[in-house]
Amino acid sequence: MRKLAGIVIAGIFFISMMMLFYHLPASHDLSSNEYYYRNPINGSVANESIPEHYIKYTKNETGAVNAVTAIVVEYRGFDTLGEVTVLFTAATGVSFLLSLAVRGRKREEANLILKEGSKLVLPFILLTGAYIFIHGHLTPGGGFPGGSVVASGFLLMMLAYPKFFMKDRISWFESAAGTAFVVIGLLGLVLATSFLQNFIPVGTPGQLVSAGIIPLIYIAIGFKVGSELSAIVNKMKEVQG
């Protein structure tokens, strides 16, 4: 009976997912009616569709070569602030729940190869993570993947050394990075016209120092995500030993 119900629910889900394909636009047909921005107050319609605008003008407007980053941080920056808040809430919830748990059993030492190898590999993992979030506006990647790569480096250290713990100071990094994000947004409100708007000269697209506030915000997000995920892993290890 339970299996039957499960199959029915999965079938309904599958069919509704498949029905999405009918609503997908044909490839490269980005100018269809549904994508025009309609002003909710006076009902006026923009004279070009939103995807076309992103493809044509992203590079000149934001200075970012990677259009995904430009959309995530610049055009939809407020949504990204929401995402960061969601992750912050999750990390807070984990540490709150696990603070009630009892301390677990002791773990034995890892073997020599893992211990020495992880020491050798850690700088390169951290370097890769930093590269991913610093170059977010030039190459694929950004704050979230870069931060998780950094956290995975610390995870490796925790697996190799039973006594390796992050210091409590890591939460300072987290709050400083979150504050930096909001402060950059507020500076946009003060120096330009709206929250999270670019107020730094855009510069030459394709260079490391370009794209205005996008690298700054992505570095803040990278630090925040990295420290949050490391704190989650650290908390679970504290409980588990």
């Binding site: 677990g104 990647g141 979230f144 998780s148």
Partner: protein, 95 residues
Amino acid sequence: MSWEVRKMIDMFGLILILLSIFTIIPAIMAVVMKDLLSCTIALAIMSLILSLYFYLLQAPDVAIAEAGVGACLTTALFIVAIRATERYEGGENED
């Protein structure tokens, strides 16, 4: 066979179909198997193949995130959680 159909069944499409089959197999294994540790490893394999799939579909941003979060951090968190609870589904407590 019309031109469109032949264009659909070209090499790239075949690779995508193969990859999606390779993605589904570990997912089904993760549902069926009783050993939760094996399920976690199956999910990690699924994430890895899925990130390759995203890369081939020209979404490298998502591929990096999937490989970093799905294949690495989630696996570690699941293993820690299994270590805290039970390894086998269904209540037989054989650690």
